[in-house]
């Protein structure tokens, strides 16, 4: 289509075009700009939807291997049995309703110079601007954590099959068993996630297998919302949840032997667990690394105004894969970044400068029966850098009354329904 001149098009289209000559110039004039989005998670989906809402003349294609998306957020409630895996499964029909083309395939190459994306299925997709939102990939910082170990000791840090696997192991575990969560070093997806997970699993164990324990063997000495989580561990799960900081174990789990169900910490000590949830260190999704969008940190440097890669022009990187500090690698941040990139892409396709970005993060963690806590922050661009807006944000107060904690559970569920709908609906 790109090489069609108007005259050639008339020749090809013939009488049909002549018959509708009034509408015809509009069709040719709208030689639509093409955006290819690599990855249909929260960030990619949001960008697709918001581009189409802002400018329906833009041709948007998402390339995503999976037929459905399973949200990582609320997947800890699948582990406790408080919700089903189906309740966190999202279809791409909502995006299709916005006119987004969804191609279920895997991107194997991004040619930033040639402005083309190549897929494993043999497709070549040309683009005017590309958005890369591949999420995370797991680093091999834990010796022995191969594909077989991943089945025996699921990470469940990408929701879906892994979540179901871990839930099944919890269900099969005898009362009195030990669940070991190996929490990863920074930076990683969903900073409060491992600790909310401990609370959710502990709620299940207290109800069904009260003699059991959850041990968090952390690579770190501190973590997100630590004061609030520690309060919840003491209030609801005393004797059930134990958190072990990295300094006590030589930096957490460094090796596993899946066959014997053994985990080894940095201090050389051996640990046995009935269920092991091993969450390795993380880096940007594989395609971002392959496309040369990452720096030495393993994540993708971006310009805070547009989320355009500072390595490859014309390619934007959003969501967990990007270096968007001080924003965390969260679902809300991914959604917020998707909108900033969408607005920037729409402006840049018209040859305009992108406007100033506005970003927010809000993360809820459900830490006990009818008890949720949150962290929030507002961000803007200061002197070209993404920054926290002074005076904004922070944590749920440790002394907030039970009535307000109960409200936050309702708000957490509202957050979930709205962010899923805002991103995919």
């Amino acid at each position: 289509m790109a090489n069609f001149t108007r005259r050639k098009f008339i020749q090809v289209a013939g009488g049909a075009a002549a018959a509708s000559s009034l509408g015809f110039p509009a069709i040719v004039g709208a030689a639509s700009k093409k955006v290819v989005i690599v990855g249909g998670g929260t960030a990619g989906a949001t960008a697709a939807k918001y581009i189409r809402m802002a400018d329906s003349s833009v041709d948007v294609t998402i390339v995503e291997p999976n037929e459905h998306y399973y949200t990582c957020y609320m997947s800890n409630e699948v582990l406790s049995g408080h919700r089903t895996i189906d309740s966190i499964r999202v279809s791409y029909d909502g995006l299709k309703g916005h006119g987004v083309k969804v191609v279920h395939d895997t991107v194997v190459d991004i040619d930033a110079a040639g402005k083309m994306v190549k897929t494993a299925g043999g497709q070549t997709l040309a683009y005017d601007r590309c958005i890369v939102a591949p999420g995370i990939s797991l680093k091999d910082n834990i010796e022995g954590y191969d594909d077989a170990a991943m089945e025996a000791m699921p990470h469940a840090w990408k929701a879906g099959e892994q979540t179901v696997l871990l839930r099944k192991q919890l269900e099969a575990m005898p009362d009195g068993g030990v669940v070991l969560i190996a929490a990863p070093p920074n930076p990683f997806r969903c900073p409060p996630g491992p600790y909310e997970r401990a609370c959710q699993i502990a709620m299940y164990l207290q109800a069904k297998k009260p003699k059991s324990k959850v041990m968090i063997v952390d690579a770190k000495d501190k973590f997100s919302k630590k004061g609030l989580f520690t309060q919840a561990f003491d209030k609801y799960f005393k004797g059930t949840i134990e958190w072990v900081p990295g300094k006590d174990t030589g930096g957490g789990v460094v090796r596993v032997d899946a066959a014997s169900g053994t985990l080894y910490t940095g201090d050389g000590k051996e640990h046995k667990a009935d269920v092991a949830n091993v969450i390795p260190a993380q880096q940007a999704g594989a395609i971002a690394i392959k496309a040369g969008l990452t720096n030495d940190s393993g994540w993708c440097p971006i310009d805070g105004r547009s989320f355009e890669s500072t390595i490859h022009k014309g390619v934007h990187v959003i969501g967990d894969a990007s270096i968007s500090k001080p924003l965390p690698k969260s679902g809300y941040a991914a959604n917020s970044e998707g909108k900033v990139a969408a607005a920037a892409v729409v402006a840049m396709l018209k040859g305009e400068e992108p406007g100033d970005p506005a970003l927010v993060n809000t993360c809820y963690s459900i830490v006990g029966p009818n008890d949720a806590i949150s962290v929030a922050m507002v961000y803007d661009l200061k002197e070209g850098k993404l920054s926290k807006v002074e005076g904004s944000g922070g944590l749920t107060p440790t002394d907030s009354p039970p009535e307000m904690r109960a409200r936050d559970v309702q708000y957490a569920y509202s957050w979930y329904d709205n962010i899923v709908h805002d991103s995919f609906g």
């Binding site: 809300y332 927010v360 949150s374 507002v378 904004s392 409200r407 509202s414 957050w415 709205n418």
Partner: protein
């Protein structure tokens, strides 16, 4: 009364739209308002079950709410001359007065949204009678008239209205005098019925 209100609303609305589209330094009103959607729904249309719809509420009510949240100290869930909150105080503090005004104008420029809120029809019926006598004057058109500057209660999410009423009753949120007079006359069951009535106005 209501016709005059509508004419005034249209006039004010047109002024607000002008101010919303005026160029200002920093992020646009839309860019800021879009960050609310993660909890309050795309274009301020919440899919629930608890966070309120923002679409179509008056600029005045939006500003009053955000300034009320801004006045609530971090570490508190309620305080005098502030709106009770679990999280909104921490978010509202991220915006200047001008930015709050811009967002308020933006949400006011969107059509009023009434959600399909689950409710009890029998309670809604009881609530309708109480509404006619005690609430309609300030929450006109079943709570759907932005120019009342009293929020949009029609098709509003029930848990949020229940939380708000609990805050009014506990004294954590100040009621206008006229509202206090009406609310004090009603039993808890009657108040619940009124909220179901508002939820039913879809």
């Amino acid at each position: 009364m209501s016709c005059n209100k509508k004419a005034l609303a249209a006039l004010i609305g047109s002024i607000f739209v002008v101010s919303a589209t005026q160029a200002m330094a920093g992020a646009s009103a839309k860019a800021m308002a879009d960050t609310c959607a993660g909890c309050h729904g795309t274009n301020g249309q919440s899919v629930g079950p608890a966070t309120p719809n923002l679409a179509g509420m008056s600029e005045g009510y939006f500003i009053e709410s955000m300034q009320g949240f801004k006045a609530l100290p971090k570490g508190a869930t309620h305080a005098e001359d502030a709106r009770p909150a679990t999280i909104m105080n921490r978010i509202a503090k991220g915006y200047s007065d001008e930015q709050i005004e811009a967002m308020g104008a933006y949400f006011a420029s969107l059509p009023v949204y009434k959600a399909k809120v689950p409710h009890d029809p029998a309670k809604a019926k009881t609530g309708a009678e109480i509404y006619d006598k005690g609430c309609a004057k300030c929450h006109d058109e079943g709570g759907a008239l932005p120019d009342d500057d009293a929020g949009i209660l029609a098709g509003q999410w029930l848990p949020w209205m229940e939380f708000s009423m609990a805050d009014f009753k506990s004294g954590h949120r100040e009621m206008p005098k006229s509202m206090k007079k009406q609310v004090n006359k009603l039993s808890d069951a009657e108040l619940a019925a009124v909220l179901h009535y508002f939820a039913s106005q879809q």
